[in-house]
Amino acid sequence: MITPIPILLLITPLLAAIVVSIVNTLSKTKILQKIIAAISLVLPFFYLSIIFQRISTESISYNVGGWEKPFGITLVIDELSFILLLISSILVFVTFIYSLQNIKQDTGKFYFFFLLLTTALNGIFLSGDLFNIYIFFDLTIISSFILITFGDKKYALKGSIKYLILGTLASLFLLLGIGFVYAETGVLNLEYVQHRISLIDVQTQIVIFVFFLAAVGIKAAIIPFHTWLVDAHSTAPVPISALLSGIIVKSGVYVFIRISSFEFSFPKMNEVIIMLGAITAVGGVIGALMQWDIKRITANHTISQIGFIIVGIGTGSTIGFAGGIYHIVNHAFFKALLFLCAGALIYKTGSKDIRDYRIGWTMPITFIVYVIGILSISGITPFNGSVSKKLIETAIHSYPGISIMLLFASVGTVASFSKILYYAFFKHPKDKNNGKDEKKVPFTMLVSMIVLAVFCLALGIIPQVWLDGFILPASYLLGGVNLIQQVSFIEPLSILKEWIIVGGGLVLLFLIISFSTMVDSLRTKISKITVNQSILFMIITLILISMIFDSLKYV
């Protein structure tokens, strides 16, 4: 049945963005813009609740302008895009509440681009054809690129121009891929392309896949396409960092899921994707272990967790897709939580270097939610990260080498986050400056952090509810097989394994701290790599991947 709801999801934030900018020029008060933005961010929950009642029985689509698919612009909502729309709406709303106190200047401009970003995100998840994905892809780049410059000025400019160069390059690669698809199949609609792609000859399929891989690789920060992420995410204002890591990177992963569900017919595609994912997981952790800046550590962990997701998706099995999608949801919540807590710590101390913190027990609420976030990202049993990591581990049991790499990534995750915990909270606190700089974290910031922590707990304690309700329908759709082994999420052996990982992490942390001079020199060497060199490296990797596929195509 045709309902206007998909288009409403796009129009509401877009219209609100325009109204906010007009109000901003006309009046000097700041309240009205915030009220308009808040209303337009609450309305999507209403639309999504209507969609939720219908989605199990019928597919929801809307033809813009009344033109039928494959020729018109179609907006489609299936189970997968519903999940992403839901978490993006929640995250956008939570970070909006957080930004009420955090963003002090140019609020009108900030909310304009914030709402534009919301539109673009909804657009990616809604669009049913390749060219619309390109348009909204570029719109996220443009709007988030401006939002980054609201951060700490000098370095934010550097991070954002890097993001713009690589992001534009990503959209050009996507366009080239789209061009080849259109030339060979004559359609752009995702449903049609999905089946017709296997009719193309194998060599062209490889070219198309490699172009798409470059595009979504840059957007989703798969190593070696990740170089923009750490600079951009660590210099952006805190709510935008949370959004960037929470959902904008996931929009790349979403497009990657769509592309990997095309029926490409050349061999070894899954293995190469899994390998890239595992390298990403380990590389992100190694990057995080070398840093002292709290936001750079958190940003590096985004790369590493994306690696886990890509490994899950790369298996191509139902359980792998379930793990990957569940990890997308989990990562959105715990990474946003970690960034917002980092923001609270920065707000309190005015520094990003974890060695300056040593605040002791002066921030109990922040401490508790931060520990919840860390236990979630480390995958300790009652918290949400454990569920999705267990699903991904089950999916890759036939690749022992990959399992070991992911195990190392988990150990490194524990190590780098216990570094933050140790320096910020447990190390002998600094002398109080006679209570002069007793900055209180505002109530709105605390509320948004607590909401995210509750989500982390809820997703971890009752995983079966979410799996049956949301995740499994979406992964049946992609994996094709209606069969999933029963995975039990609470068993003593795996809990023991998790705590062994924690122990390993603490040992690794001890090693890192004792060799810290060596690590520091390595870090300065890596930070000298320019945009040019990273792009050259990317292109060499692309050529290598296409050569691997080409040599294997007749095996």
């Binding site: 570029d138 400019l157 550097k158 121009i161 534009t168 259109y182 752009l188 320019t530 945009v531």
Partner: protein, 107 residues
């Protein structure tokens, strides 16, 4: 073979070469522009039909040029203009803050 598709791809690669070798931000943006123009040429050549007529509704609706790539490229040109304008604006800002547009000298 010299046709629009191949020349478009070659232009894309020339732009890519420019992005890799230049240290100057403005030159990098110019190279991105060359790449995207290559893609415009590539797309428009996809829909080209030898001796075809413009895709305007006429009585004889045979042998006309495919209008879809042209429509896509109109959209893409607008988006790309927006990208370039924003990038140049930020480069002006960078020049005020850092005093240089060379990516190696920005510290």
């Amino acid at each position: 073979m010299i046709n629009g598709i191949n020349i478009g791809l070659v232009l894309f690669l020339i732009g890519l070469y420019g992005i890799i070798t230049n240290k100057n931000l403005i030159k990098i943006i110019m190279s991105l522009g060359i790449s995207s123009n290559g893609i415009v040429l590539f797309f428009n050549s996809l829909g080209y039909v030898q001796g075809g007529i413009p895709p305007i509704l006429t009585e004889s609706s045979v042998n006309f040029v495919d209008p879809v790539p042209q429509a896509l490229m109109l959209t893409m040109i607008v988006i790309n203009l927006c990208d370039t304008a924003l990038a140049l604006a930020i480069i002006v800002w960078i020049y005020k803050k850092f005093g240089t547009v060379n990516i190696e000298e920005m510290t």
